[in-house]
């Protein structure tokens, strides 16, 4: 070394002295009430630099202490920890110890006893955590990969082949992206590093090379496949790709050993999805904690979406073939096999879009802390089923409704601590947030143990707002539903939190836009549960093709119970426009879909029609009268253009096998009483 280390150290200690001055000034300002972002940031940065230098110069005790100190400051900086007087007092005593540590590192003093202060720092961090014990552990800064770039990954796992490590080597495919080359990455160095692990190139493919004229020397065209001995740890292989831009192709697979008794299947099973790192714990763990069985590649979302679209087209082409070929010809060209394969591809692609709902749940703890600070109500959060996988679109759109429900639960549901104590409940409220998959649906629940819906107040408010007649006779459930009525708000005083002009009606319409629905269950004195029921997938629907006035429509098969060919007299009119069908001694309301949509096809006698009995969420069992049923098939849902005026009862469109368009029926909207019926009609 050219400069003596002692000289450099001396300069480092000068910087430490400067840093300590900044920390002291900043903390004093904070104690005096200046908790501005800049002040907090200056303190954080100063401690951060001291930590940085202490590591480089090998002052372990100083490094350890400044690291813990910095953790707490980071929480304050990120506004996860409120800089209350108590917290600032702890920070000030930590400053004292930090000064002592610096002095000790310089040899001017002995290493201070920092245990009690460390415990205080720990306590401050824990105090923050008490609000929400389920928070996902933040990645320790020191354990974060040294040189990993942030990127929102879509993780795909390839099943563990369950072979002992030595049985099969690794097969690594590498194709650097344009971005990797543009940032000065050198593929040759990556390959050399892999070779140092024992890799040899099995194949170098230049098939992607364009003609010379079109060659762009900034782009990546080469594609390498390398074989690496099985005993090399996957993390070591991954390390070689540290600096390679994440949109490059990097496949790391356990290659099959040749003597394997089972060639598995030609197609590997549909890949399971690995929980993707969430926003609060970004990209850190996959590599750090990588077992050698789990592998991920990163794919840009637009690529996935375009794949999904293409597969949708493929499904449609398949049904066109099925329509046009006779069964014998279908056999001849092996169409059934092709169809099966297509379905498998479709399932796999759908599963690629699935993400753990944790991503949507992640922001809840933070929100609860904010709410706790605003309302003074402490709330414990319990989360379950956060690994449940749902379509990415659902995760994106469920955020706002979820936020609103949680706000609602804290603001209106959970009572102030004193009132809770008086009612014999724990002073701390509890909110349960859960997700589960049930059949083809995802159920998300937000349950609080608060006071439940105050039905008298809701009723009074609704009457006051003219939503119901004051003397209407309403069931409890009907009163509960009122809070979802447009423009309804129960807050006595407009609080900071709720009462922002967005009500439960918006939550309801958001969820309904996703093809889901919201249910409310409330027990006076015991709490309220909001349940969101969402479709598992947004793109494919198992449908029944029905005819109305010569046109074909798709009815979601999920809600169909049975179809009935009515005998003469089985369908009776109770009042004009109100028909019922008698089914095994039970009377069910019947709706003529032609009437509903105003299709003028001439009224057919019921016995020439079919009644499809469906089970709806809002109206129970209802018969829908259609002309006839054509077929049953999976359809690809295409949304209706936004420019089209929304028509009640239509949920989308699809392309049928013969290339014609069929509209998809929205059963809930058809059977549900219209909003006016639901509210005003109740009073009738």
């Amino acid at each position: 070394m050219s400069d003596s280390l002692d000289e450099i150290q001396a300069i480092f200690f000068e910087e430490c002295a400067e840093g300590l001055t900044v920390v002291e000034a900043g903390l004093s300002a904070m104690a005096a009430g200046d908790v501005s972002r800049d002040t907090i940031a200056s303190v954080f940065r100063a401690v951060h630099s001291i930590k940085g230098g202490s590591g480089a110069f090998g002052h372990a005790a100083l490094l350890a202490f400044s690291h813990r100190f910095e953790n707490v400051l980071d929480e304050v900086r990120a506004e996860r920890l409120q800089p209350e007087p108590g917290v600032i007092a702890v920070l000030l005593s930590a400053f004292d110890i930090l000064s002592d540590h610096v002095a000790a590192a310089q040899g001017r003093a002995s290493v201070p006893v920092d245990g009690p202060v460390l415990a205080e720092l720990e306590r401050v961090l824990l105090g923050k955590d008490e609000l929400q014990p389920v928070v996902v552990a933040e990645p320790e800064p020191e354990s974060a990969p040294v040189d990993e770039f942030g990127f929102e990954p879509v993780a795909v796992s390839i099943e563990d082949f369950d072979h002992p490590a030595e049985a099969a080597g690794w097969s690594v495919r590498f194709r650097p992206s344009r971005a990797a080359l543009a940032n000065g990455g050198e593929p040759l160095l990556v390959i050399r590093e892999l070779e140092a692990l024992g890799a040899r190139i099995v194949q170098a493919s230049w098939s992607g090379l364009p003609p010379l004229r079109e060659l762009d020397c900034g782009d990546g065209y080469m594609d390498w496949t390398l074989a690496i001995p099985g005993e090399v740890a996957e993390s070591d292989i991954r390390d070689c790709f540290d600096f390679v831009a994440s949109d490059s192709v990097i496949h790391i697979d356990r290659a099959f050993a040749e003597h394997d008794e089972e060639p598995a299947s030609v197609l590997p099973a549909a890949p399971a999805i690995v929980p993707v790192t969430s926003s609060s714990a970004p990209a850190a763990e996959p590599r750090a904690a990588s077992s050698n069985a789990e592998m991920t590649i990163r794919v840009d979302l637009p690529k996935l979406d375009s794949l999904l679209n293409l597969v949708g087209e493929l499904v449609i082409r398949n049904s066109i073939l099925a329509d046009r070929l006779s069964p014998a010809d279908q056999e001849k060209v092996e169409l059934p096999q092709l169809s099966r394969l297509t379905r498998q591809i479709q399932d796999s692609v759908m599963s690629l879009r699935a993400q753990p709902i944790r991503q949507a749940f992640n922001r809840v703890p933070r929100m609860l802390r904010d709410l706790a600070a605003e309302t003074g109500k402490t709330v414990r959060l319990e989360v379950s089923g956060e690994a449940t996988e749902v379509d990415k679109t659902v995760i994106e759109r469920i955020g706002d409704p979820l936020t609103h429900m949680i706000r609602n639960a804290v603001d209106h549901g959970i009572e102030p601590a004193d009132r809770r104590a008086a009612a014999g409940k724990p002073r701390e409220g509890t909110i349960l947030l859960s997700a589960e998959q049930k059949g083809g649906r995802i159920i998300v629940r937000v349950a609080d143990d608060g006071g439940g819906i105050d039905r008298e107040r809701v009723r009074a408010k609704a009457a006051q707002k003219g939503l119901i007649d004051p003397d209407a006779v309403l069931t409890n459930e009907e009163i509960d539903q009122l809070i979802c009525a447009p423009g309804f708000s129960t807050a006595d005083t407009i609080s900071n939190i709720s009462g922002r002009g967005v009500g439960m009606d918006v939550v309801r319409s958001n969820i309904e836009a996703l093809g889901g629905r919201v249910e409310i269950a409330s027990n006076p004195g015991q709490g309220t549960t909001f349940t969101m029921i969402l479709p598992l997938t947004l793109a494919i629907l198992d449908g029944m093709i029905v005819r109305l006035g010569g046109q074909r429509y798709v009815l979601p098969l999920g809600s169909v119970v049975e179809s009935v060919q009515p005998a003469p007299g089985q369908v009776q009119a109770m009042a004009p426009g109100h028909e019922v069908i008698e089914l095994r001694g039970q009377y069910l309301p019947v709706r003529r879909l032609t009437d509903f949509f105003g299709i003028r096809a001439g009224a057919r006698p019921p016995e020439d029609c079919l009644v499809i009995v469906i089970e709806s969420d809002t109206a129970g069992l209802v018969g829908l009268m259609v002309d006839t049923v054509d077929d049953r098939r999976e359809v690809v849902i295409k949304s209706l253009d936004r420019n089209l005026h929304p028509i009640r009862g239509l949920g989308g469109a699809t392309v049928l096998g013969d290339g014609s368009i069929a509209l998809i029926l929205d059963i809930e909207a058809i059977v549900a009483p219209t909003p006016r019926d639901r509210i005003k009609g109740l009073a009738a």
């Binding site: 630099s49 230098g53 040294v146 990455g185």
Partner: protein, 121 residues
């Protein structure tokens, strides 16, 4: 001829430490005090590798990387970021600006050399 590394950091001790440890590894090391200085030194030194801090006065590391990357002659020069910052957002920004890789402070000689070997033959 040994490879030349330009290190940009506003902390004198960090500059000296980097220079000392990299020189010991057989590199030629030049230093700059901040982004602006670094950009100018790039022209004079034409290094094989640029290592820069992020939080610096005058011109920060992101701006420096961008300013270097847009110059044709520096398009292929690997750039490593050496910073106490480790947030994913910062890393993504550095990547977008054109950084090749990232080393988090505190670093040790082994970590530093391993990272350099990844980008500079």
């Amino acid at each position: 001829m040994s490879k030349c590394i330009l290190t940009v950091d506003d902390s004198p001790s960090m500059r000296l430490l980097l220079k000392a440890s990299l020189t010991a590894q057989g590199f030629r090391v030049e230093t700059a005090d901040d982004g602006q200085d670094g950009l100018q030194r790039m022209q004079e030194v034409r290094p094989d590798l640029l290592i820069t801090d992020i939080n610096m006065p005058k011109m920060d590391g992101f701006q420096l990387i961008e300013a270097v990357r847009v110059q044709n002659e520096f398009r292929g020069v690997p750039i490593l970021v050496l910073s106490t910052e480790f947030s994913e957002e910062k890393k993504a920004r550095a990547r977008a600006a054109g950084a090749t890789g990232w080393i988090t402070k505190p670093f040790d000689a082994g970590k530093l050399t391993a990272a350099i070997r990844k980008v500079c033959p």
